[in-house]
Symmetry: C2
Subunit: 426 residues, 2 copies
């Protein structure tokens, strides 16, 4: 005896059309596995006219309230992204007693608490597997598979655009600008790439992963976010020489009860489990007390992979088997580790005048700030000007000491462009 599940789809873009296409192709296999006949009953999209020829057997509307008001629709799938009007749609749907499935990491990371509290105090369910890691079932792994573990840390390559760019810079020797243009041509970067390359998207995702890992609310605006725009091929080169690769990582760690959460370009050793994740792929590494490291790898975006995550939530909700959502067991606000207290090794790349006394003065700044130098690389000067790259790798030091040193070094006359610092995760 099959059970009918009728969903209402708000937004027929990349992911929305993927959900429709997935069900068209695979609804039989889903029914055989789960006993559920899942179908799209209504689609809301402002371009309803344009998509009419693409969809059959499905009502179309430009008014999302038609979906909320449809009594047969039990689950609303919100795929328009952004905070408003998505937030109002989701809240109205929940209040109307409908379950909601969304891929909207921005909304949940920036303004999720109101939504979570509505869900907590009702019988409806909220699924957001699709908001992190695309087709990789990473939230479910965390909430269900690792439920018996304390999470020490979670880190991941959470944004395909930046990983594509860094991979092409690393492997193809491209500049950041050329790699970005290639990513745009290949469909891996938006026309306006700010959101991805500045680390905001990865920031949303690590905020959600951090909340679920540590069962605390995390204030997205307090999460340190640094993008990849200042990374150059020369950094790729020196990283490789030292046995590292550079990846944009989202990191959330439990440091003696304080949560250290951030996004930044990171040097990781070339045999690190995230180092071999190439191009548009994503991967998430959980360090959990019982299992040790668990790594999940796959496509972090795209029409069908993200649709796969949406459908897994729809099925779980419809089977009444949604894992009791730990997002709804958030135990107050996380105490965040002040960024100055964070410790790591640092890579400094300076462009200096080729004159005597430079290294002495730079080394003096590090000494004064109690930063111990691990290695120094100074190359022959460029033929085009009178500058040389000077690379210093430090031993572990606090972020506060790094920032003080950075300010002082940037103040020297002989420093010819703003110093680049990359954090090292050993």
């Amino acid at each position: 005896m099959k059970k009918d599940v009728k969903i209402g789809l708000i937004g027929y873009g990349t992911v929305g059309s993927g959900v429709y296409g997935l069900l068209k192709k695979n609804s039989e296999v889903i029914a055989a596995r789960t006993g559920l006949n899942v179908s799209v009953k209504m689609i809301c999209d402002l371009r309803a006219d344009k998509i009419a020829s693409e969809v059959t057997g499905t009502a179309l509307t430009t008014n999302w309230k038609d979906i909320i008001n449809d009594k047969e629709i039990d689950t609303v799938v919100e795929l328009i992204g952004g905070v408003e009007p998505a937030k109002s749609m989701i809240i109205e749907a929940l209040k109307a007693g409908k379950n909601v499935v969304t891929a909207n990491k921005k909304l949940l990371a920036e303004a999720g608490s109101e939504i979570f509290s509505i869900v907590k105090n009702s019988k409806v369910k909220l699924g957001f597997e699709a908001s992190v890691g695309g087709g990789i079932p990473c939230l479910d792994a965390l909430k269900s598979g690792l439920v018996g573990n304390r999470i020490n840390s979670v880190m991941g390559i959470l944004n395909g655009t930046t990983n594509y760019i860094l991979t092409r810079m690393e492997e193809g020797g491209l500049s950041f600008g050329d790699a970005l243009k290639e990513a745009q041509r290949e469909g891996f970067a938006e026309a306006d790439p700010t959101f991805d390359i500045e680390g905001y998207d990865a920031g949303h995702k690590i905020t959600l992963l951090g909340m679920l890992s540590f069962n605390k609310e995390i204030d997205y605006s307090a999460v340190s976010k640094e993008g990849i725009t200042r990374i150059s091929s020369i950094d790729m080169h020196f990283a490789r020489e030292m046995g590292y690769v550079i990846k944009l990582l989202g990191i959330a760690k439990d440091v003696n009860g304080k949560i250290d959460v951030r996004v930044h370009p990171t040097m990781i050793r070339k045999n690190h489990q995230l180092a071999s994740v190439r191009r548009e792929f994503n991967a998430i590494l959980f360090d959990a007390d019982m299992t040790g490291n668990v790594v999940l790898f796959g496509k972090g975006a795209g029409s069908f992979p993200t649709a796969s995550a949406v459908i897994s939530d729809v099925v779980k909700i419809s089977q009444n088997s949604m894992t009791e959502d730990s997002a709804l067991h958030l135990d107050g606000k996380a105490e965040l580790l002040p960024s100055g207290e964070r410790c790591s090794r640092f890579y400094f790349r300076m462009r200096t005048e080729d004159s005597s006394g430079v290294l002495e003065k730079v080394a003096g700044v590090f000494a004064k700030n109690n930063i111990s130098i691990a290695s120094v690389v100074q190359k022959e000067k460029d033929s085009t000007d009178n500058t040389v790259p000077l690379i210093i790798m430090t031993h572990s030091a606090s972020e506060a000491s790094m920032k003080k040193s950075l300010e002082l070094i940037n103040g020297f006359d002989f420093i010819k462009e703003e110093v680049v610092v990359i954090r090292v995760e050993d």
Copy 2:
């Protein structure tokens, strides 16, 4: 309002003591996340006297029926392994209305159908996440995260013992025998390692993964299984020269509706996603139609990782949120691809007399069987005897052609030891 969940543990060995220890350490965090107070109410172990000092607040018995008869126990965790008496225990527990969680891949792969049919016709639940991949939540990823996908193939490094041995042969240049001894010293191999090194354990796991991937019953006894005992350092060497590594893989593929399922040493390219899985770690690669490749990596065995999987099942069952088990939607018996029809490239390693005409005769065998040769490596002869290693890599050919060729080549007088064939997965 917390709900009490009392489990009965049958078997207090490596995994059983891990479950007890995990709950001792993490039951509070589980309660905070899920609202469940999970505790071990009774342990059955034949060495009850010996373990009495290790466990507190928990009843001990040597008679497993005491657990079945305890009305307060709702979930029985079977961790003794093997077919009998585990099978009888599980069946009695299910019939007594108790849910069952087990790590027993041998039982489920070899004799699961009776158990599955009892579960199918009752309200009780069966969890067996711990039976494949230890702490890696791979069955849940397959059943729930990938529920909207058709699975094209699943392959994995499913046995830590053999992966440890192969890693040490590859990286340390050890012989098979020395690597096995080291694995035994380090606790990664049993005193009698047959079960692991002959591929039986990986066979059980790929049988279960195959059943869940393709929703068909798979007859374990019909699964081709070949272990790693004939792999030598010389194969590691030639594989590396050709850009490959050798891994023991469990593979299950859908080949036009027929299921191709097998375990054997496999040459995979060194940039393959499973190639970098070292030592005792496991990894599972799903090729799914919507998500593309999804890879899960972690510890495939051990006390706490496996306990983590057991507890995730206990929690799911207790939240009444166990994913509708696709093992219980098995749609008849799988039609298995006859092994002779399977196609791949093959690596042949021969030890031949160093005499003229050898290569011609070997090449003649391949030609007669329509196997096209991709590359040949023949090295200078050993100083110790009058033999040379002859390596031939073929283009794709059927297993039937390979077997015919193998028989003919083994029959030549100039072949000085049984030819080693390794399948290549490109």
